[in-house]
Each structure stands twice: as C-alpha cells, then as structure tokens.
C-alpha cells in the first residue's frame, strides 16, 4: 500500500509554439489504501493523467510520487503498480494461467511462488476452472476478471483502472462494480480508477476527482461533490439530470430574472447583488400551491418518478417529482418551491461556488 502524490502535474504534447497542453497543473494527495475515482467527460485528460501515473506517458512538468519515491523517470515495471486496461489487453496466445503469470515469470519468481499467487488470485476471482483456457474462449466478464487477476498476482502498491467496465453490458457492469469494491475491501490496495460514468464514480469512490479540460474541478467524497459542487461544471456533470442553473440577481429576499421575481427561502442568499447563477437540483424543487411559476414543455415518465422539462421565465429548468397523482401536460403552469438549504450560488464569470 502506498500513497500517490500528484504535484502540479502538467502534460504537453509537442514542443514550442505548436505544443498542445492537455493537463494544466493537477495537484492531489491520494492516501494509502484509498479508492479514488477520476471522472470527467471524454477528452478531459483523465486517462492521460492515469497513464502518467502508470508511466506510459511522460510527465512534462511537476512530480508524481508513489509512496516516498518520485517516479517521473521510472519505467512502468519499476513503479510497483498494476493496471487494468479498457480492452483488457490479454495476450491472446497465452492461457489464462500464463497471462497472469507472465509478469511474475519476467520478475524471475520461483515456479511454486508463481503457482501459489496465481491460484490464490484465481480463487478470489473464481477463475480456478478456467486457468487452461485461452482468452478467446472466455466471455467478456471472465476476460475482465483475468485482467484483474493479472493485476492482483503482482501484489502491487497501486492498482490503476482505465475504464475497465465500459466494454461490459449493463448487468455485468453492476456486478463487476460490486466485485471491485469487494476486492478493494479485502486487499486494501490504493486504487486509481478512471471512468466517464458518474454512477460508477459515485458508487465506487471513497473520494473522487472531477476533471474538466485538463483541470481538476473538485476533489472530495461523492457526498461532498454532490451536495456542495465546487463549480458550475461539477454541478452540471454530477447528477442526472444535471443541476438547474438560473441566472439573475438576488435582492431583498427575491431572485430577479428579467421578467420575473422569485421569492427565496430565508436562508438562501449569495451575499452579493450582481448577476449570479442560482443552482437547484431537479429533486430539490417541489410542486407546491404557491411558489415559482413554471411552464411544462415535456414530461418524461421514468416509472417511480417523472421529469418535467419546463421554462422558468426565459430559462430552462428540470423538475423531478415522485408525485404520481399529478399528470402534468405540456403547456400546464405549475408552482414549485426550492428545498430550503438546497440552493447553491455560483459566480457566472469564474463558475466558482460562492
């Protein structure tokens, strides 16, 4: 078990004026034994960051340390890490046993030690009956487990996962997610897990890093990230449907849109009078007798709940309600009230939480 320190990590491709910077100084301290998920939209640099920790990409600036060692210039094999790839990257011509044992053979471990470790990993992952098979004779889920087995047998300081669940079908994904959690509980190895799927991120992470355009937007527990998003990006990215962001000015207990003044709950105020963004999650807008008037444009019925895509003044908002007695139709005007204490404020220029 080891901690991972990212200290102002920068990645540039190319040199000179034509270079392209994809990671703009990320700093984070990942504790020993922690399970951290890096989440963000595609192209945000999350995989690049992981590959830098793995040693598959060079670090342009800053430092990466695993435990006490700065690993910037170490080969992947010298970093005492193991990685699970998105396409599993199993060696197609080797049996499951040989796939798992290959790294150990190169390390010149004694035969019986290799046997012992592979058997142990196979037992944990329920692969014992499949050790003689070739990867092409396995199902997607089994291949996934072999890829994890290959990581486990090395008994590394750190596990790196690069979107390992994205090639599985929905049901298997949930199951594998639980298995990864169980594995982490049993082995307690520091893990860094990259995904674009926020559900995966929320369920797996002890803490999560939300990334956007090469920058770290927030680093916190899933609960913190959800209840206190640090930026408008996080507010919009985490949570489905995303948080409603309404722009206007807060004055004397009201929030002023161009054509509308909304009364605010007592506790809610940004503490400044210029234009700000008000954020309210769809589930924190309740239908009420009195309140903010919304015009319903579209209704999505999701079984237990329904989503009302609506207009609030000239701005779009989404309301999530589990009230099944109401059957709003497009064009209806309803009243909603925000949950007190669930109103967030953001600066429209910087996107930062106020």
């Amino acid at each position: 078990m080891a901690s991972i320190s990212l200290r102002n990590v920068i990645k540039k491709y190319g040199i000179g004026p034509k270079s392209l910077q994809v990671i703009h100084g990320v700093s984070a301290e990942i504790l020993a034994g922690e399970f951290v998920v890096i989440v963000g939209p595609s192209g945000c640099g999350k995989s690049t960051l992981l590959r830098m920790v793995a040693g598959l990409e060079e670090v342009t600036g800053g430092e990466i340390a695993i435990g006490p060692r700065v690993v910037n210039d170490l080969e992947p094999a010298e970093r005492d890490i193991a990685m699970v790839f998105q396409n599993y990257a199993l060696y197609p011509h080797m049996s499951v046993f040989d796939n798992m044992a290959y790294g150990l053979k190169i390390k010149k471990l004694p035969k019986d030690e290799i046997r012992r470790r592979v058997d142990k990993a196979a037992k944990i992952l329920e692969l014992s009956a499949l050790l003689a098979r070739k990867p092409r004779e396995l199902s997607g889920g089994q291949r996934q487990r072999v890829a994890m087995g290959r990581a486990i047998v090395r008994e590394p300081q750190v596990f790196l996962f690069d979107e390992p669940l994205s090639n599985l079908d929905a049901k298997l994904r949930v199951q594998t997610r639980l298995e990864i959690q169980k594995l982490h509980r049993e082995l307690g190895i520091t893990s860094l897990f990259v995904t674009h799927d926020q559900v995966e991120a929320m369920t797996l992470a002890q803490r999560m890093i939300v990334m956007n355009a090469g920058r770290m937007e927030q680093f916190g527990t899933p609960d913190e990230v959800y209840t206190r998003p640090a930026t408008t990006f996080v507010a919009g990215f985490i949570g489905a449907p995303p948080m409603n962001l309404v722009s206007g000015q807060a004055r004397d207990g009201h929030f002023h849109l161009p054509s509308l003044a909304l009364d605010l709950p007592d506790s809610a105020t940004p503490g400044r009078a210029d234009t700000v963004l008000m954020g309210v999650r769809p589930e924190h807008l309740r239908l009420a007798e009195e309140g903010w008037p919304i015009t319903v444009e579209l209704v999505e019925v999701l079984g237990a709940e329904r989503l009302l895509y609506s207009q609030l003044g000239d701005q779009a908002v989404i309301v999530r309600t589990d009230d099944s007695t109401l059957h709003p139709k497009p064009g209806d005007v309803l009243k909603v009230r925000p949950h007190p204490g669930k109103v967030h404020w953001f600066d429209p220029g910087t996107g930062l939480r106020i």
């Binding site: 992947p76 990685m83 790839f85 998105q86 396409n87 990257a89 060696y91 197609p92």
Partner: protein, 283 residues
C-alpha cells in the same frame, strides 16, 4: 441458401473438370513419361498409361550415371542443395523481415519513415533488375558455387517486411503497454508476444517463400556452375542438351516429378495455417 438449378450445376462442374484437366494432364504425362524407357517415349503416339520402368528410372535419376548427352549428376544431391537453399532463403527472409518490421513499427529512430520507404521501393526492383551488379559482388566475394552465394542475395525481402509491418500495425497498443507493465523489454515482447501472434503470417510466408526459393532459376543458373552445387531446377535444365531425341526424357521427367514433391509436401502440410494466415487476423 438453397438453390436448385440443374443447368448451372452442370455448367459449373464442367468448368471445374475442364480446369482440373488442363492443369493435371501435363503433370500426368510427366509422370507417365517417367515410367517408360527413353525409346518408348519418343515413339509416336506416346504411351498414355504408366509403364513398368518406374523404380529403375527414379533410381537412375537419384543416383546419377544415366547415359544422356547432358549432365548426369545425381539428383539426390541436387535435391539436397535445393532443400538447403530453399530453407535458408525462407528462414532468413522471415527472420530478417520480422526484425525489420519490428524496428519500423515499434521504434522511433531518426529517418524511420525514410527507411520504411526505402524498403518499400525495393519491392519494385526484382532480382532480375539488379542481377548484373549483384553477380559482380557475389563473384568478387568468392561466393560462386556456394550455399552463401545461392541464398544471401535472395534473402532481403520487402514483401515480407511489408506484410509483417501491416500485421504489427493491427496489434493493439494496449498489448504493448500491458507487456511494459509486466516488465517485458522490447526483445522479450518481440519473442514472447509478437512472434507467437504472427505465427499464422509466418506460416503463410513460409509456404510462399519456400516455393519461391525452391523454384529459383535465373540466379542459380549464374551462380551454380559446378555440378555438385546444382539445385534440382538447374539440374533439369542441364540434363537437356541439343535436340529432342538424344535426351533421356524418362530420367528428365523423373527428375521433374521429384522436383515437384517437396513444394507439394510443404503446401499440403501447411495448408491449414497458410489459408488462415492470408485470411484471418486473430487478435
């Protein structure tokens, strides 16, 4: 799909049978000729059924010592020379092409693309084009009438390099990265992963190049002037001299049949992998 079209069936079978006849009949005639005495063959019409001198003719051919006006060197020796030549060319070509394709695909070195294009351009220059200068080099190095002279100039192969390059490009990058994670150095990766993955392509190339090596004609014709270094293809050529009648056609035909056997064995034995290597890409 179920089709019942008797006429189409008939026509297509007829075409196939005709094709087989065209290809197989000359081979059959060669075989028939190799089982008669020299006198029987030159009679008109030539016999169309196998005769009774099969063993005798083949023994004469293999051991040499016929009475024809051309070369009467033993064919067994020629077969050996051909076999060694073909195998050295094949193995050499495959080894060198694998390594150069590996270098071109996986290493970043200065002028990498230039190297690749230089190799690629030589695709357009067959041995025949550069035969004069190559002969000069080989003869100055004193490699005439030697295995080295017969094989080395034919080993470099742009075709095979290109084929392996194309195959290596389809190997997923993640496999390379996984190997790096496992601590495999470049040559270890090459030996443990790339070569086994290429086995089908290697088999296909083995067949093609073995036949290429076995059937070499022009180059050995220049290099092999000593009877003990004749490949069998040249041996056949040297057995025939002058007019039609003087030659021992039965021995020549027996040699021709013998010359056909090794390539046939290679093709039959490696048929399965050969087809796989050309058709399937397994990853």
């Amino acid at each position: 799909m179920i089709e019942r079209r008797p006429l189409l069936d008939f026509v297509s079978h007829a075409v196939v049978l005709l094709g087989i006849l065209v290809v197989a009949f000359p081979v059959y005639l060669t075989f028939v000729a190799s089982t008669h005495t020299a006198q029987e063959i030159v009679q008109a019409p030539m016999p169309l059924l196998p005769g009774s001198h099969l063993l005798e003719n083949y023994m004469t051919a293999l051991q040499g010592g016929g009475s024809g006006p051309g070369s009467t060197a033993p064919v067994a020796r020629m077969m050996w020379v051909s076999l060694v030549t073909a195998l050295v060319i094949t193995v050499g070509k495959i080894a060198i092409s694998l390594l150069s394709a590996f270098a071109v695909v996986y290493f970043r070195f200065p002028l990498r693309m230039l190297c690749f294009w230089a190799i690629f351009v030589t695709l357009m220059l067959p041995v025949e084009v550069r035969i004069g200068p190559t002969y000069k080099v080989v003869s100055d190095l004193g490699m005439l009438n030697s295995y080295a002279g017969l094989t080395i100039p034919l080993i470099a192969s742009a075709t095979a390099t290109f084929l392996f390059r194309q195959f290596f490009l389809t190997v997923p990058d993640e496999l390379v990265e996984a190997a790096r994670m496992d601590g495999a150095g470049p040559m270890r990766f090459f030996k443990d992963i790339l070569v086994p993955l290429s086995s089908n392509s290697i088999a296909a190339l083995f067949v093609i190049q073995f036949i290429y090596g076995w059937n070499q004609y022009l180059w050995p014709l220049l290099i092999a002037t000593d009877e003990s270094m004749y490949p069998v293809v040249i041996g056949i050529k040297r057995m025939i001299s002058g007019g039609d009648t003087g030659n021992e056609w039965n021995i020549v035909m027996a040699t021709a049949i013998l010359a056909m056997i090794p390539p046939t064995i290679v093709v039959l034995a490696m048929q399965k992998w050969f087809v796989k290597g050309l058709v399937e890409t397994e990853k």
